[in-house]
């Protein structure tokens, strides 16, 4: 591995929170490096089409561009395509770059670290959810932006959360025939949330616009997908069985996008030793975690969306530079109230726990069926007895599912956080190869997933 790059502030994640954090720290004189897993900055919410450089058709497009332009002017260095697989509170962090010429590990040293690692979708198992043609909600949108055409395809968008209507509207705009939007939350829990938005008219307006662009699709609340039914070829979808708990009906479709709101990406924070509170990274008024010199901003501190991420990122960046943050705090707190409203409105209904059948796969990496998870007690036992969570996704998918279904939360986060091929640790991007200390369990993980 090459000698480490050294910086004052290292930011992990180039979504809205990371961009805001890096910009604020750099504008106040700190030397900043931003690392991001994706090919382009913007994170998930500001993900653009990679196929056609489409003119900005929404406000977020231009807002994103302004944020990225400002990041560039701030003097911060953005390194895309860097996956963080290891870090310690002592100021060192390692990334993996996967290039056409091979995989390379790189090392960074920092004084302060800002974690802006965002969130991922929560997936819940149901019969047929492993069929090709069943995607996440944000997942299908990301694939469409990466060149997959959904024109003319019959799509059902299901699960829970504000993403459902937004993605359904985008898919419809891209020529898809959105047959139905199936939201598990009851209308009675959505109405108080919608009513609370009168203080934030922009959010209310956006929801109304999405709904208006979906005039042909049926929007069902208090209903959920019980089964994805395969076509005769066994490798595509023919229909989806939907239920409201009393009645069950079948809706033919080509694709299903199903996701149950978001879960925070807290793995890196946990690895460093940051304290979590109810599943989120605990931070103070200046976005400081329990670990000195480690800050966290955006979704890992609470699923609160774009505005909260931007504000928290700016607070963290300013705090790293020793600049006052009080003026931003009250706005950030207001957004956190929005987060609490979101969590209440889209709370998961207990009936979803009854969806997996004994043979339904829960861990997609290792094909562990639901029946095999009934006997072990606790996450460690589950892993030992079934290999659930031991594949390359390292429980990012099955972990939150098992936590919801059985109440066992993945107990320990280990490095590498992502599978790292052994040759990446010995290869050098420049000269001067340095010995790299690999912990025995890392070697085990690498072999297991290679």
């Amino acid at each position: 591995m090459s000698p480490p790059s050294t910086t004052d502030v290292l930011v992990v994640g180039a979504g809205p929170a990371g961009i805001a954090a890096a910009t604020a720290a750099a504008e106040h004189g700190r030397k900043v490096i931003v690392l991001d897993d994706n090919r382009k900055p913007g994170g998930q919410i500001w993900r653009d089409s990679s196929v056609i450089a489409s003119p900005a058709r929404s406000a977020s497009g231009s807002r994103k561009q302004r944020a990225i332009d400002r990041l560039q002017r701030s003097g911060a260095t953005l390194l895309s395509g860097h996956t963080v697989f290891s870090a310690s509170a002592s100021g060192q962090l390692e990334t993996l770059r996967e290039l056409a010429t091979g995989s390379f590990a790189e090392r960074f040293r920092f004084e302060q670290l800002i974690l802006a690692t965002g969130a991922r979708e929560r997936f819940l198992p149901f019969p047929g959810w492993t069929l090709p043609g069943v995607f996440g909600v944000g997942g299908l949108q990301a694939l469409v932006r990466a060149g997959y055409s959904v024109a003319g395809k019959r799509i059902i968008v299901a699960g829970t959360g504000p993403l459902l209507l937004a993605v359904a509207a985008h898919l419809s705009h891209d020529g898809a025939n959105v047959v139905a939007v199936i939201e598990q939350a009851a209308l009675s829990s959505l109405i108080p949330f919608a009513a609370s938005l009168w203080r934030q008219p922009s959010k209310l307006l956006q929801g109304a616009q999405y709904r208006a662009s979906l005039s042909s699709a049926s929007y069902r609340t208090a209903a959920w997908v019980a089964e994805a039914i395969p076509a005769t070829d066994g490798r595509s979808l023919s229909a989806v069985r939907i239920t409201d708990g009393k009645r069950t009906w079948t809706e033919p479709c080509d694709l299903l996008a199903c996701g149950y709101h978001l879960v925070p990406n807290t793995e890196l924070a946990e690895l460093i030793g940051c304290t979590l509170q109810r599943g989120f990274v605990q931070v103070d008024e200046q976005q400081r975690t329990s670990v000195p010199n480690v800050f966290c901003a955006g979704e890992p501190t609470g699923i609160a969306g774009l505005e909260a991420a931007l504000l928290q990122g700016e607070i963290a960046g300013r705090a790293c530079a020793g600049v006052a943050t009080a003026s931003l705090r009250s706005r950030a707190n207001k957004e956190q109230a929005f987060a609490r409203g979101l969590a209440r409105a889209f709370a998961l209904r207990p009936e979803l726990r009854q969806l997996p059948q004994p043979g339904t796969i829960v861990c997609r990496c290792e094909d562990v069926a639901f029946a095999n998870l009934q006997h072990p007690s606790g996450w460690a036992d589950i892993k030992l007895q079934t290999r659930c969570g031991m594949g390359p996704c390292q429980a990012r998918v099955c972990g939150p599912a098992v936590e919801f279904l059985l109440g066992s939360k993945p107990s320990s986060v280990r490095q590498p956080l992502y599978p790292v091929p052994l040759h990446a640790l010995t290869a050098t991007t420049e000269h001067a190869p340095e010995p790299f200390k690999v912990e025995p369990e890392s070697i085990h993980k690498v072999e297991e997933t290679a």
Binding site: D37, N38, R39, Q44, S49, S50, V51, I52, G81, T83, E98, A100, R120, E121, F123, T130, P132, G133, V134, F135, G136, G138, G139, L140, Q141, A142, L143, V144, A146, G147, Y148, S149, G234, R235, S236, N265, I361, R364, C365, E366, D367, G391, P392, C393, R396, V397, P419, T449, A450
Partner: protein
Amino acid sequence: MPEMLSLRINGATVRVANGTSVSAAMLIAGQPTRISVTGEPRGPVCGMGICFECRAIVNGMPHQRTCQLLCEEGMTVETNR
């Protein structure tokens, strides 16, 4: 119109727009990205590099997360078995 490029997916030539991810190309070609440990065909799910269902063999290298890779002219892609 976007510029087009050609790649081979499980032996068949597929033409896609420049900027298409390998995951999207495999969906267009109707090919599973990988076969699971019990033999099920799988395709991409999360689209953002965390679920690892989109792993395929790209230019001979197995286990590449195809949702994070863009298609290149002449690339060969195979279902990860």
